[in-house]
């Protein structure tokens, strides 16, 4: 007797979860990410996808992959820890903002209002994960090569708005602002998964709504392999790791 098991691509499953979540009011969603460290190969495709999607300049990194070499020869291994923003439930960065420029949306994503942020960088000192960067007004080509490459000045679509950085306008937002990963809310709101999720070649990253018991993230987050970074600080990250 053969048993028919329905198989479904993880991406299709996540897209279905996403669509289901988007049907609900925003305050009933809790966007979360699960990263399976056994599947991560350290290719940094997520980091590159994030750079390309958000058009982040030099010095601004929403996502990095921390590489660690463990053990001694001949018993050596490498361990990779992708680090987006943890989108904490109790974000220390939000609490310290003197102008309420950064806040936690009802769906759990911590955002920055570029039009209000005064650039004091208190949030950078407060984040226990180093997940925030300050935009110092650097460009990959402008000032370094005779011609300014288009990608240096092409806009990013963060927060569903156009943000264009210009080498001649170093006092205009988002230059001079704190910047961070937004779980690509501009994509989510169009029914797309965050760039780092779609690009992950090892299938190590899963995204979805933590308030939906049927979603893949909830099922994976229930694994005994699950950990969160710096739990002892009480920040309650929305990013879960599977060891």
């Amino acid at each position: 007797m053969t048993v028919q098991v329905e198989t479904k691509s993880m991406t299709v499953r996540m897209l279905e979860d996403l669509q289901r979540a988007l049907q609900k009011p925003m305050e009933e969603r809790h966007w979360a990410m699960v990263i399976d460290l056994r599947k991560c190969v350290g290719c940094n495709a997520c980091t590159v996808a994030c750079k390309a999607e958000n058009n982040t300049p030099p010095g601004v990194a929403y996502h990095v992959v921390i590489e660690e070499e463990i053990g001694k020869y001949p018993n050596v291994a490498r361990r990779f820890l992708p680090r987006p923003c943890m989108q904490c439930e109790h974000p220390p960065c939000v609490k310290v903002c003197p102008v309420n420029a950064t806040y936690r949306r009802p769906d759990g994503i911590v955002v920055i209002d570029y039009d209000v942020c005064i650039g004091c960088r208190y949030c950078l000192t407060a984040c226990p994960y180093g997940a925030r960067s300050f935009d110092f007004g650097e460009f990959y080509t402008a000032g370094h090569t005779p011609e300014v490459a288009a990608y240096d000045t092409s806009p990013s679509f963060e927060y569903g708005r156009l943000h264009q950085r210009q080498p001649g306008r170093l006092n205009e937002s988002p230059i001079g602002n704190a910047r961070k990963c937004t779980f690509c809310i501009h994509r989510l709101e169009k029914g797309m998964l965050p760039a780092c999720i779609t690009t992950c070649l090892g299938g190590a990253r899963v995204f979805g709504d933590l308030n939906d018991p049927k979603s893949l993230v909830v099922q994976l987050a229930a694994s005994p392999r699950v950990v969160r970074l710096k739990e002892e600080l009480g920040t309650e990250p929305s990013v879960y790791y599977l060891l």
Partner: protein, 420 residues
Amino acid sequence: MRKRLWLILALGVIAFGIGVVGMLDRLQYGLRNVGYGSPIPWALWVVFYIYFIGLSAGAFLISSLVYVFGFKQFEAIGRIAVFTALIALITALLFIWVDLGHMERFTEVFARPGFHSPLAWIVWLYTAYFFLLLAEAWFLMRRSFARGAKQGGFKGGLYRILALGTKEGTPADEERDLKVVRVLGSIGVPLAIAFHGGTGTVFAVTIARAYWYSGLFPLLFLVSALASGGALLTAVAAFIIPNGYRRHQDLVISLGRLLLILLLVEVLMEVAEFLVSLYGTAPAHTAPIQEQLFGPNWWIFWLLGLVGAVGLPMLVLVTAGRRSGLAVGIVALLSAICFVGIRWNIVLPGFVLPELPGLEHALVEPHLNYLERYVPSLMEWQVSAFAVGVALILFAIGYHLLPLEREAGGETWQKQEVSQ
């Protein structure tokens, strides 16, 4: 203007001249040319900011000894202390203002304050303190303005404006003014404790930085403020008041004793902080201390902090400083200047470890380089020179124009006018 004020003015103008280029760079290119980055988001300007805000709080609290707690022996420096507190406050705010990514948006702190942020609180408190200082200075000097308005020339005209219609008044009126000053000073004392303790709290609530995350930090800020502000005022009393260290030998030596006590408390707190942090094995606690003691900038701790700000002054204060106003003045000046090293070691060691191990190798880009040792850029030094230049110029001109030196039996400025 006196020779010493000319000297301060000249230093101020030179610093301003050196700094103005950096300031233009700052205005045109924003923060692109600073030496710090996201791994070390607070650096030289924040160091200077807490240094000057400490000087202001310290100077003000010393002035309250005269006007609130009735220590008459310090009366000669009462007005000078309030004036110094005002200049130091302006300088501190200038430093933190240029450090903002969007200088033009500083008003947002008033328009939409985040009251869960200690930073918002202290800005509000600084504002209240600024107006309180202005009011206190005016009530202290308004009768002098009224009397001085009779003299001709620029100074007379200025005093007429500053008097805001005040009459010369009787000694009873002056007494009444001093009562107002006492009330203002009484409000000012908790305010100064709140805003400077609050400045320490900005650091102390940062759970991400184990070095700062301590209940001792706000108190350490207060003690450092008192010690550095006290040292500055002692130096001003000794060297800016003409022949101060001779004419006011008793005052300067008394201030020296006060400074000695404050320095002792400072040492006590630092020792407590260091020993407790070093005892454990957690790098988040031990690394910032080891960095100060043995890191590449070891000399900031040993030479500026331990020898310059604390050790040598204490040694002199318990020996030659018991008799010589000049000796007290010299070490007080040394201490006041070297305190900037203690301030450096409050801010920078907080960033010695990356937030997550391995983050330093994850991505290395301009302004995102955990491996690079922070060295302030030329532009940062220039802007610092600009701000210090502004402070020195304001101090020299203000000191020259305002009736700050009051002595028993009359106004010094009157004597000066006569002697001229």
